[in-house]
């Protein structure tokens, strides 16, 4: 089989439609993961063991099982319980939940890095626990975490092709449908690989910049 540039140009617009969905899913998934991770991290720190231990187990369970199966679970099981989600929404929830358990560890490390004296000072200033978190701890803990968080978002980006398994029309699914329709696999699948490689290499450069900008711990 020969590489055919005319075919490449012919399929590029369709692939570009897929790229848009891939990027949309990554962005939404990142937002969900960032939020869920923070919730998991804070709940796991709770002194109330009735909430912190089950949350720890749930997080470990989600982290120890495949994203693909979780996506199937969200997409096929929840409708039985009366919750019907569109494929993209199910995919974003799956990505966000799965990577939320990873980002929770990043938050945990970042929060542990805030000096003890800051907690004591917050208590001495008579701040409530909400004020302590939002005014004292998180503003100091978040900036050093940014590179590590970005790292996971890049990893998530590379997992988005899994969404094709639950019929989201993202890049991989577009490429497969082109390949099946024309019975040419080389160009679509190679282009998908090239696209991921380019975005990943560019994002590595971005990551280095984030590390220089925020990664220092003074």
């Amino acid at each position: 089989m020969e590489w055919d540039w005319a075919f490449v140009i012919q399929i590029l617009p369709t692939l570009f439609e897929g790229v848009k969905i891939t990027i949309l899913a990554t962005l939404l998934g990142s937002i969900v993961a960032a939020a869920i991770g923070l919730v998991i991290a804070i709940v796991r720190r709770s002194k109330n063991r009735i909430v912190s231990i089950p949350m720890g187990f749930v997080a470990e369970f989600i982290r120890g099982t495949p994203l693909l199966v979780q996506l199937y679970f969200i997409f096929y099981v929840l409708p039985d319980l009366g919750i019907t989600l569109s494929p993209l929404v199910a995919g974003v929830i799956g990505l966000g939940l799965h990577y939320g358990t990873y980002t929770a560890e990043v938050y945990r490390a970042g929060i542990d890095n805030v000096a003890r004296g800051q907690w004591e000072a917050a208590k001495a200033c008579n701040l409530s626990s909400i004020q302590t978190w939002t005014q004292i701890i998180l503003p100091q803990a978040l900036p050093p975490m940014i590179p590590a968080l970005a790292n996971y978002f890049i990893a998530m980006f590379k997992e988005t092709p899994l969404l094709s398994a639950i019929t989201v029309l993202e890049l991989m699914n577009q490429a497969r449908s082109i390949a099946n329709y024309n019975y040419r696999y080389i160009e679509p699948i190679t282009l998908v690989g090239a696209f991921f490689l380019i975005i990943s290499l560019v994002s590595v450069v971005g990551l280095r910049w984030l590390e220089r900008r925020y990664g220092r711990i003074d």
């Binding site: 369970f61 693909l68 679970f73 039985d80 590379k158 991989m172 080389i186 699948i189 690989g193 590595v204």
Partner: protein, 219 residues
Amino acid sequence: MGQWAGYLQLILDGAIVTIQLTLMGSALALVMAFLAGLGRLSRFAPVRWLATAYIEFFRGTSIFVQLFWAYFVLPLFGFSLTPLQAGVLALGLNVGAYGAEVVRGAIKSIGKEQYEACTALNFNRWQGLRYIILPQAFVLMLPTFGNNAIELLKASAVVSLISLTDMTFQAQVVRAQTGNTLVPFLTILVLYFAIACVITFAIRGLERHLTRGLDGIRS
């Protein structure tokens, strides 16, 4: 109840395929991790470039794309792979690229005095690596290797999409035949988690075994 026993058997058959894939993929990943990790530390620039290209390529593209490439595109170049071979190849090469960075990081973290001691003992590069550096570095690599093995186990679910009858594939079969979604998927989630726990415990045990007698020597 009798029919569920049959379906459970189906899922357990899939579990065996998943375990096979995980073991063979991990073996390939381990080899690739050492080859590429040591390659990046090589004195010869072309070897370093080759290792860097391998690592960046496999870490930069998605496992999913690599698997499809191995299964659908390679046959067009004359390499026909069975789904199992394609799965092991893609999983092993992908996770090996991540492992290579672990190998490199662990070797780099060994103190300079150890290398000086190698020179002082008149060890050549290979001897120093084999008897002094790697035994210390390997212990540092183990926990991360354990995590990588779990990543590989989770990534192995993807092979169900190239019609390999692993656990996820069998769950889909059971779902299609019974119309019940909750039971098969919950079963395999628990099984995946159980396998991941076994990996964690095995690595922890191995680490304890290898560091026995090193207390107080390791900082």
